[in-house]
Symmetry: C2
Subunit: 239 residues, 2 copies
DNA sequence: GAGTGGTCTAGACCACAAT
DNA sequence: TTGTGGTCTAGACCACTCC
């Protein structure tokens, strides 16, 4: 019965979200400000508290708001620019470009962890680890050297895989579903063995991605991926 | 009354989420499979449909599930590993490390767009652009050369800023709220002028971030940020 | 038409923060 | 103690898909 001049069929919780985003955009509500309580908004919009709750909860998960139980709802810090690098499985990435992927297995061994590795895995030095070195080719041009150490406790069958068919990445995603990862991206000159595998000059810059993946049962894998700087880059976009 | 052997104080909607994630992880439910309906789950867990709805809705926004009204709820495609690089304002980033930020303005000018730049901005060649080159120091060590071109139509007051106080990034975030960006990260050897500003060897690898930011009114800015490879990296984590 | 998800209500009890 | 957010219920009506 009550006609409220609402434009279309936008759900109420969405209208409340839009209203809040608008107030922030207009500068009426600034970073750190308290915004009206659930009850106040439910009265203002003449809706139930659950509906307001959903709007506020979603804006919180979208990092627009912070909520503190017992205290109130606050405008969050302005978001930093974030760059989302989607690190796909390299084989799939290459195929997606319509190119041919091929890999060479240069090393597959059991080896004892040195102190540095043990520390990264959270294990004691001397603990057994799996180690593989694989070179990935795109149309027969070397594009990545993947130097990977794997925790046998997490992926006991790692050594049994045929890495010409399945990439370590693909296998680990199935064997030890990842819960998260730490990574870094840097530019440096690669050691001689790496430059040889990539067939690049010894002084040529490499783009290096180091990644440590966490699964349920601990650190699953520590990998260093070397790419020739002049023929590889990470790219993408966000909005 | 009903004791259900629940471990702790985990909310019901969270337990349902965990249950679903577990079924997927165990392989009981595979990509594309239909999972039980809201009603079925609400009976299975002896909770109200709203609680199940919240669990499913959140998993959908987390890209674990797809929902189709009138049809059902499906297991989504397995996610790619995604690396979230948070590119903060460099001044803030340095201060967050407890270090001192300082910048040197090496160039601030109006200049006509060459063909390449014009194309990036979506303007015609010869269009006027603002251009700045700033070197950022962390504890008096050069850490970034920021070579930036700005669209005057979007940020007309760019030339009036005092870039020893406000970074271009800070100013642009306010003047032209960004809607998105395209970026790439690569490793290469910098031109002589850059290596001099960074005070590094001429053959030393640089980590280069190129970023094009979009605002409401078009391309706001095109920037190339050069970092010495041996003393700078992008890093972070995700889960 | 039966079944599914999408949304909403008007209460309720709780944990926590501020006072 | 009061006010806040966190969660949950047992219904309801709707839009959409599928048969």
């Amino acid at each position: 019965m009550a006609v409220q001049g609402q434009q279309t069929n936008v759900p109420i919780f969405q209208r409340i979200k839009d209203y809040i985003l608008n107030e922030i955009q207009l500068g009426h509500w600034r970073e750190g400000d308290v915004i009206p309580t659930e009850q106040a908004l439910s009265i203002q919009f003449a809706v139930s508290r659950m509906t307001v709750n959903r709007a506020l909860r979603e804006l919180t998960s979208e990092q627009v708001l912070n909520r503190i139980q017992g205290s109130g709802t606050y405008v969050a810090q302005q978001k930093y620019q974030a760059t989302l690098v989607t690190v796909k499985n390299i084989a799939e990435e290459i195929r997606a470009r319509g190119h041919v992927h091929r890999s060479e297995l240069h090393c597959l061994e059991r080896s004892k962890a040195n102190e540095l590795l043990a520390k990264q895995f959270g294990l004691r030095a001397g603990h057994m680890l799996f180690h593989s070195i694989i070179v990935h080719f795109e149309n027969d041009i070397a594009i990545q050297v993947e130097d990977r150490w794997v925790n046998p406790d997490v992926a006991p069958d790692y050594m049994l895989q045929d890495f010409s068919v399945v990439t370590p990445n693909e296998y680990l995603m199935v064997a030890a579903p990842l819960q998260g990862a730490d990574y870094s991206i840097e530019a440096c000159v690669a050691p001689k063995e790496i430059t040889e595998m990539l067939a690049i000059g010894q002084k040529e810059p490499c783009l290096v991605l180091k990644r440590k993946t966490r699964s349920m049962d601990g650190i699953a894998s520590v990998a260093t991926m070397w790419h020739p700087g002049h023929r590889y880059q990470f790219s993408g976009s966000f909005s």
